[in-house]
Amino acid sequence: MDFNDSPEEAKFRAEARAFLEKNCRPKASEQERLQKSLSDAEFLKAAKAYQKKKAEAGFAGITWAKEQGGRGLSPIYSIIFSQEEARFDAPYGPFTIGLGMCVPTVIAFADDETKKRYVGPALRGEEIWCQLFSEPSAGSDVASLKTRAVKHGDDWIVNGQKVWTSGAHYSDYGILLTRTNPDAAKHKGLTMFYLNMKSPGVEVRPIHQMSGGSNFNEVYFTDVRIPDAQRLGEVGGGWGVALVTLMNERLAVGGSLGPDYQEIVALARTLPSPTGEGALLQDRAFRQKLADWVVRAEGYKLAKFRTMTALSRGQMPGPESSIGKVINANQMLDIGNTALEAMDHYGIIDDEALAPMEAAFQKGYMWAPGLRIAGGTDEILKNIIAERVLGLPQDVRVDKDVAFKDLPSGR
């Protein structure tokens, strides 16, 4: 056992690091604030320029086939690049969904001409893609979506609403899952398209989150025309297409996105204990909780190393990294909540200038509930572990072999 790269991996990592040092600023909270201070337009411009360099240097589409402009390498190499990229202040955000989920779906289902037209520009960051699946009444149960597409000559007319679309406001194209046959069973009446987000009738509105910010959008479709040529997969075959897209999502999520145990250790050195005797870090009750956080955070990090090992050995990775999101979202909430309560009355202050560590824990407290929901709720993820990993039987399904229009849909 060791944590070393193979010679090839080490060589690749060195190349990646060289590229990043040349093209990115080092990560630093000061830099990040500067970054934040960029206008959306400026940030997007910088991001596109960065993505272009990545493509030129062969660090975009690392696992994609060469004929798609990729590098045809095993997934371990894109993980290595991401590890290195994470150590820099690299603006890769706007492309993760498009290149991670949407374009691979286009590659899998579109004809060569379409691929020639779209894959290159996406890879070079010239065009950004978003994913249009979820709806207000179709969250955990995406297949119950209602956005209607009706055939009209060689076009389809789309009406409906999507939600939780990241980057819709700056995306050029999107892949869109629609219902084309309400008389068919739920999963059988769906069809997938791609469309130009600037098409007439497409309206993007930001979602105001409970945490204050707006990282997602609602997208409204009013008589939007989509040529049948922009269909991905068969009419009524949309669910199969969507599964290909969603398969990639599960890999994407799971990283810890807020303060973790090292941050609260730093805080606990500066806060008094609840008894007033010594620092919080010396409080035995805190220390026992801390130990549990350490064990889970390290456990998840190490589980990812096990996954990487399988990939590095050219083997099929186990399901161990599926534990990530269930652990991280709840741990971030627990740590944020514990930190707030340790600050006592002062913990209610949500001001970067006044609250310890730039109010990172207050932000975590307000953001973590979203993490428990985004990309599959805790409950859905546990169902997935139980059914796909442990092989337990599905829950009773009442929506099989019933025409969608006849299914109860509630509120």
């Binding site: 009750a285 309560e341 949500d350 509930p369 709720t377």
Partner: protein, 371 residues
Amino acid sequence: MNFDFSDEQKALKDEARKFLSEKCGPKVVRAVLDSPERGYDPDLWRAVAELGWLGAAVPEEFGGSGLGRLELCVLAEEVGRAVAPLPFSSSLYFFAEALMLAGSEAQKQTLLPGVASGAVIGCLATSEGPGALNAKKIEARFDGAVLNGAKIPVTDGGIATHAVVLAREAAGLSLVLVALDQPGVTRETLKTLDPTRGHAKLSFANAKAERLGAAGQGWELTEAVLDRAAVLLAFEQVGGSQACLEMATDFAKNRYAFSRPIGSFQAIKHKLADMYVAIEVARSNAYYGAWALSTEAAELPFAAAAARAAASDAYYYCAKENVQTHGGMGFTWEVDCHLFYRRAKLLAVQAGAPAVWKEKLVQRLEARNAA
């Protein structure tokens, strides 16, 4: 066995709920949320004053209705359920209780009638920085006539007319009474997790002040006030928890996934059952606190700590799982889940965080066992 509120008290509770559901709906709460500088809703404040709520626990001789603490408890539960944008707890549980506990006849005569009428809005100012309140670390100074120092955060400090401040003097810690509309006092509004309740930093530069209670008794008095407030806060927390459970239950019955109400899935059922259990534990402990508070029983310190610990944990659990039950919608600004999620945290940390009260509970258990 008579361990429940009377029919009259339950009737008062029903009236309060009816009134608040009409006059203090989400629109009213969000009006303050969206313009935090307001700090509270003055019209609603006047209205509850007219209903006599503010004087419920104030003796008639001081302009109150003299109803009693049990009546204040049932009102507190409804105020909590409505997430009311009011300085109700600051003015009644903290300020008025401190006055009634330690105030001189003159101080009570001067201020309690105003509390009961709503003209006086009081608050308690103890915290000076991050971490549990610590007698050794209080730096605000009182020289017998004027007060110097700063308190942060002070809930409702931006709108209060008066504050009871924990400060140090030669004799040790004392509580002092300060009128806030004077040149020696500056207030900075604070950005907090619960903008539906105003918060400020209060700075005192030779502010005129007078002692509340005996010199050097400030810490003991603060503890005694916090015990009383803990019981009343627990009722607000139980009310908020109950509202979360009802909101989540209603949603779970009507929201469908996989063509079934999500409330028919065991994951949601058991989540809501766990909320129910937490609330009943908190409610029962709160009732015990109410009994101890209303009878001035020797069990009050133990009962208050138990009520407070149970209610803080219950509200946090119910508020976060109410968001979770609502899924993506629950994470949006438009849905009301976050109003409770924000208030739950304010009520958990003001007057001492759960860990502090759990430690107090064990200390008081040891004292009880030793007795």
